[in-house]
């Protein structure tokens, strides 16, 4: 694998985000939604606690909605306008292209996440939060975003239609979140054995993210998100290879 090629592909992709208003629109909507959900839904002030828990706890749900909007174009656009034929006949491997595109999308999401820094300033101004926990929250959120992006990137390679890519990615992402949600687990707990329930909930982004966002950086949670990213990107490369010429 040639690192410099990954970098060039990532750079081109990232420039592409900012060549159109899409990137700015996305960042503004993301910031509006995080702000709205932190202050109104999360009762940031009423809680009277110096942390960003209301902010982080909404992230899985925001990502389910917003990440497919970033990932949908990664491969389906290349396939639709034929530029995939150009890309795949340049001296780059499929793995390099998959990683380059994924890293571009991930860096972009990371930027959007970082732009929430006024919240961090606010909470530090109002009280004295545990900044280690907040750092863990950002780290966990970034890892989770990577997981959603890897899912979306792989699904984007299966179709030339960005709308289809968006809808399917949204549904699959939702499944990965909901499998750890109380209502869903209750539905299983009435009849399924405990090991199955544990297995289902251990596949959930929610379970792993919750622990990190409370400041518990457990290697198993990190490993979980890393595996999700690697497995979906691996599948992504296989799908690109199989479908590139269709």
């Amino acid at each position: 694998m040639n690192m410099i090629n990954i970098w060039f592909i990532m750079k081109r992709e990232l420039n592409g985000y900012f060549a159109t208003p899409v990137a700015y629109v996305f960042i503004i909507i993301f910031l509006l939604l995080t702000g709205f959900s932190t202050f109104y839904l999360g009762n940031f002030f009423e809680r009277g606690e110096a942390d960003l828990y209301p902010f982080f706890s909404i992230h899985p749900w925001l990502y389910v909605l917003l990440i497919p909007a970033i990932s949908m174009r990664l491969w389906s656009e290349e396939r639709k306008n034929g530029s995939i034929e150009l890309l795949m006949t340049l001296p780059v491997s499929v793995q390099e292209a998959v990683l380059g595109k994924f890293l571009a999308a991930w860096a972009f999401t990371g930027l959007a996440l970082l732009l929430n820094f006024p919240l961090w300033i606010t909470v530090n101004y109002l009280g004295s939060p545990d900044n280690g926990v907040i750092f863990a929250g950002f780290l966990g959120s970034l890892l989770m975003a990577g997981g959603f992006l890897a899912i979306g990137s792989c699904i984007s390679a299966t179709t030339k239609n960005q709308v289809i890519a968006f809808v399917i990615s949204l549904i699959v992402s939702l499944v990965f979140v909901l499998s750890g949600y109380g209502i869903v687990l209750d539905f299983f707990s009435s009849w399924a054995p405990a090991t199955l329930i544990n297995a289902v909930s251990s596949f959930s982004f929610l379970t792993h993210f919750d622990a990190i966002s409370k400041g518990v950086i457990d290697m198993r949670d990190m490993f979980y998100f890393a595996s999700v990213i690697i497995i979906w990107l691996f599948a992504n490369a296989i799908v690109v290879n199989a479908r590139k010429a269709d």
Partner: protein, 316 residues
Amino acid sequence: MTLRIEIDDLAKYFGEIKAVDGVSFSVKKGEVLGFLGPNGAGKSTTMKMITGFLTPTRGTVRVCGHDVLTDPISVKASLGYLPEGAPAYADMTPDSFLRFIADIRGLSGADKKRAVASAAERARIKHVMFQPIETLSKGYKRRVGLAQSILHNPPVLILDEPTDGLDPNQKHEVRTLINDMAHDKAIIISTHILEEVNALCTRNVVIANGKVRFDGTPHQLESMSRYHNAVCLNIANVADTDVVPFLHSLDFVSGVEPLTSNRGFRVYPTQGKHITAELSQVIRDHGWQVDSLYAENGRLDEVFRSITLNSAQGEV
């Protein structure tokens, strides 16, 4: 040997459809191979396999000695490819697009700058370098694609319909560009514009239904025409009824037919021989005055039709 492209028994099946079915040919340095065939004959599929975009069902492709199956990156590094329709990244400008290609091709610093400038110059896109590609006309998009393919001065060029959609002036420019590069490269050009056979190619391969039907020089291709070396003749002040029996009586003439457009006849030689000199001599000896007399080279459209249609019937 300076074989740059070697293709052996190449085939691609899509389910039951045999898009390419056992194609073999090779291209040397200095050759411009015109790849002809009707739409759907397998031209693009063959080119996609040479460039490593499609995996062959069977057969081998070697480019500059590298096997496309075992060493695709080396193959891709040694060729420039213009895919059908010249796809590019629509939201980029030709400048940023070419610089991206240069990065990927391993060019940096002054080399990169020079390569981008030279490709832009040769493809004549210098004055549109900073407009988004999506706003460019079809002709300019094609030339951006062409600039992309020649950027790294590759030893092998694969161009899928490089002049499709261009106006006559642009076509001429692209042909001049290709001719200028031809001496130190091996080039494959697919086309269904038959005038390019003479304007560009040193050799032709005609395929139909996934099989090679002809492999030879443009001259050999023309000489397969029944019009090859036929002579158009107009004799002044002599009645047609006198001329026709006289022409039929000559042993080197195999047939005579009247021309539809103006007065005169088309005289077919026996066994495709060159008969212009002989014919004009006997007419003068006969005391007639020749108004006009010229030999035809052969008609490519007619040869093309007979090669590709016969084979289609042969398949059934």
